[in-house]
Subunit: 272 residues, 2 copies
């Protein structure tokens, strides 16, 4: 029997994976969670029918979400992650020896548990003693708290359903409240090929609160359009403060950080 | 009825398009040619089951194949294209007023004829008086000729079947023979996610003949991995010689040309 999983990015195009085996399938209180073993991209995590990560290319997403912010912040002791229950973002954060504690705020405990069992390449980092996991709604968490994070990473789902609130002014204000004055926040911010309107709105919203808001891009073959954007925002200038790059990275390097903010014309046009 | 076209990039992953209508289907002496109208990527040209271009994203491929070479060559009067019967590469070349003549060497007349009828957004450029079309095998053409091109673009199919010879030392020598001493050649050179071995071999081969050989990348959502490479080779230094950028481009711009040669670590590792 041949089993295929297809994600349609819009009504006309999609990506298809040939599946070796379904490893996990369950409905949590929040979403449908599936983990497959694929023929050529290793393990595949799918939430509510959307590709979250594959074993073969997750390194790009996690490296590019995390490492640029560390370049611009010479010292980062306390770091927060909203979402990211698979653990990949935490894995990259823990590569910096100055990090003393990281908070992971993941609403869905089942994502963490399934990841620990089936996605050890990302989730094994979650057992590190510097990691504190809060099984809570990230939006409410930041609204109610007053933390002093050096860096915050919003490793969220796509802005449909409840995750829509992750793209609201109210959420951006909560983020600012939980960041140190010279802190930096980075959002995964969707595909320039499919979600330019979301990118534009997010930049406009963040620009009301932060003086430096910039977009950067990376090649992630299993995400819509194969190209993904990240938005970095802070109240100070984005200047490199740290030479150190962890060993063993497979995407991020010096040539990327030196050229980080290039944008194709069709993207530049919407970022103001 | 719902009609889908799927291209598998390897045995495990592919891209799927929902099709509105098949506009053209024929077998030429060289290949099977199909043109579809899709729901979200406009018209789609498929040769032997592989996506050649879509109306929505072809601008990236054609702009990025052509414009960097013009940046590095301040004057380009005579320009050649091997393959590229759809006309997109010629369209970009003709945006430079110093170009006096362009040769298009396309083996398959039926690709040109079908493109003129169904893909006017690329093919209408082929009626320009500066364009000379040769319906010949590009490999033989360059082997038998002794032209003096300022710029050559190898706008070829994937290296399977007869197109394999486009990645041979013999072909690279023919190219050099048909280039001016300070001429530049650019190859489309496949996907870093699927064809790193081909990229490595091509760079190694070209480096035996040219002193400057460099790889650069662009986001093309309908090509395997959504990320494509181009290899530029010349016997002189690659230094910007031309400030002019044609108006109306949608991908290439100053920020791209200034940061052109960044590479992710996993690609840099194979390019020596």
């Amino acid at each position: 029997m041949k089993l295929y999983f297809t994600e349609f990015h819009d009504e006309g195009t999609g990506i298809v994976f040939k599946i070796k085996k379904e490893l996990f399938s369950a409905k949590s209180p929040y979403q449908e969670i599936k983990i497959f073993d694929t023929y050529t991209f290793g393990r595949l995590l799918v939430l509510d029918g959307l590709v979250m990560l594959t074993e073969r290319d997750e390194f790009v997403y996690h490296e590019m979400l995390v490492h640029p912010a560390f370049y611009f912040k010479g010292k980062a002791e306390k770091v927060g992650v909203i979402g990211g229950g698979d653990g990949g973002t935490i894995r990259e954060i823990l590569k910096y020896p100055d990090v003393k504690e990281t908070y992971l705020v993941e609403i869905d405990r089942m994502v963490v548990d399934a990841s620990k069992k089936y996605l050890p390449f990302t989730a094994s980092s979650l057992d590190d003693r510097r990691v504190k996991i809060f099984f809570e709604d990230g939006i409410r968490f930041l609204k109610e708290r007053g933390e002093d994070f050096d860096l915050l990473f919003v490793d969220s789902s796509d802005p449909v359903g409840p995750a829509k609130a992750l793209y609201s002014m109210e959420f951006y204000k909560s983020i600012k409240k939980n960041l140190k004055e010279d802190g930096i926040v980075v959002f995964q911010s969707e595909s320039p090929w499919y979600h330019l309107d979301i990118i534009r709105e997010q930049i406009e919203g963040l620009s009301k609160l932060f003086s430096s808001v910039k977009l950067y891009l990376a090649s992630i073959p299993t995400y819509p359009g194969g190209f993904w954007s990240f938005t970095i925002a802070t109240s100070r200038e984005l200047v490199g403060e740290r030479d150190y790059i962890p060993e063993g990275l497979r995407y991020y390097n010096k040539s990327i950080r030196e050229t980080l903010f290039w944008l194709p014309e069709f993207v530049k046009n919407v970022t103001g």
